[in-house]
Symmetry: C2
């Protein structure tokens, strides 16, 4: 029964462990005892960062460091890892202590996320970086495909606002400086001004909202955030 469960997990991961002990270690949360997946998680975390970082570096060859960092954070954050874990149906395979079992640990994002990292560490130890990279990039394929530099700019207005608030500065001001075209073919020019920069940033887009986002993104770049 257990064996079957692990086999199904291996199928979803696309990787067959040579050592079932290693697989089980990767699935063992610290609540279960002193022999647990924390060391594998430590290793796996840095491998994941590297693999995803390199993929982004190569894919977005015009992106600046700040953009790459933001994209990577999105990819490796606990929430995303927990999503992956759910795709793998990891919950059923987790090895938890009594307390965690009773308090719903099987569904806890942090436990699921850590376990994905531990699996990456375990696969690396068994099969090396190349195998590990192929797998991780396969797991991430559609997420990477959906990414664009725009993803990181999506939230640029709120990021700019949060940054200025943290610096106790006035909120940014957006103003329309030009509108060209008519109806659905309109084109907006937006200026974004903040007290921290003498020069405004300017962006154009077919919607006011989009132009504001882009002007905010440009300001984030200008301020080196």
């Amino acid at each position: 029964m257990l064996v079957l469960k692990y086999q199904q997990l291996e199928q979803r991961l696309g990787y067959k462990f040579e050592s079932q002990r290693q697989l089980q270690l990767a699935l063992t949360h610290r609540s279960y005892g002193a022999t647990n997946n924390e060391r594998l998680e430590f290793l796996g975390d840095s491998i994941l960062n590297f693999i995803v970082g390199e993929a982004l570096f190569r894919r977005f060859d015009a992106a600046r460091e700040g953009q790459l960092s933001r994209l990577r954070s999105q990819m490796v954050k606990g929430e995303t890892l927990a999503e992956l874990a759910r795709e793998f149906e990891l919950s059923d395979c987790l090895i938890l202590g009594e307390g965690e079992l009773k308090s719903g640990g099987r569904q806890r994002d942090s436990i699921l996320a850590d376990c994905v990292e531990a699996l990456i560490g375990a696969i690396y130890l068994e099969s090396g970086l190349d195998v590990c990279r192929v797998l991780v990039l396969r797991w991430y394929a559609h997420r990477l495909d959906e990414l664009s530099l725009d993803t990181s700019a999506k939230d640029s207005k709120s990021r700019l606002q949060e940054f200025l608030q943290a610096q106790r500065q006035p909120l940014p001001e957006y103003s329309v400086t030009d509108v060209s075209g008519e109806g659905h073919a309109q084109f907006f020019t937006i200026e974004c001004r903040v007290t921290l920069s003498r020069t405004p940033t300017v962006a154009q887009a077919s919607s006011r909202r989009e132009a504001e986002k882009q002007a905010a993104a440009a300001m984030l770049e200008l301020l080196n955030i």
Copy 2:
């Protein structure tokens, strides 16, 4: 003149760049212009984390995740990287903008540290992970040799104190529960008590101070910090 400078740098790094353009890119701070070492630094940072993380994982096979993380932070923090940069005499080779040059950027820790990461990224792109790992571990050899799990426990008393203060808890209490031996051969048993744990931790050492440190380290482990 410049060529000689770069050759000497390559000798100190133990690596000869195939592409001098790549080397110069790694040396170019963002103050110099849009084409700079920030992307290489992004890549190099994650490679460094991985290489050092793996080395610690293999070297300290009994260390817990928290200890490994602390040791790695010590190894990859800006201060340590700036030390490395000074061993390489990177200062003279940095390519900086006017403003940074005038304000002493050549000696700025953050610029030096980022440049070491960028060099790692550049070497990785040219020669792959294995070459990169050999070099990085050579650069770090004596630092890694000097490390012990004790290094991370060195400051355990203050870490425990800071943690408790952050949690608005009373300070830990250390008490001598036993002294055996005489003169220089004395042996102290110390108990560390905190409100967050019902059970105290106990440690023994040949000095009271050392025993307190170890009891604090044990308490950090017990509290899973």
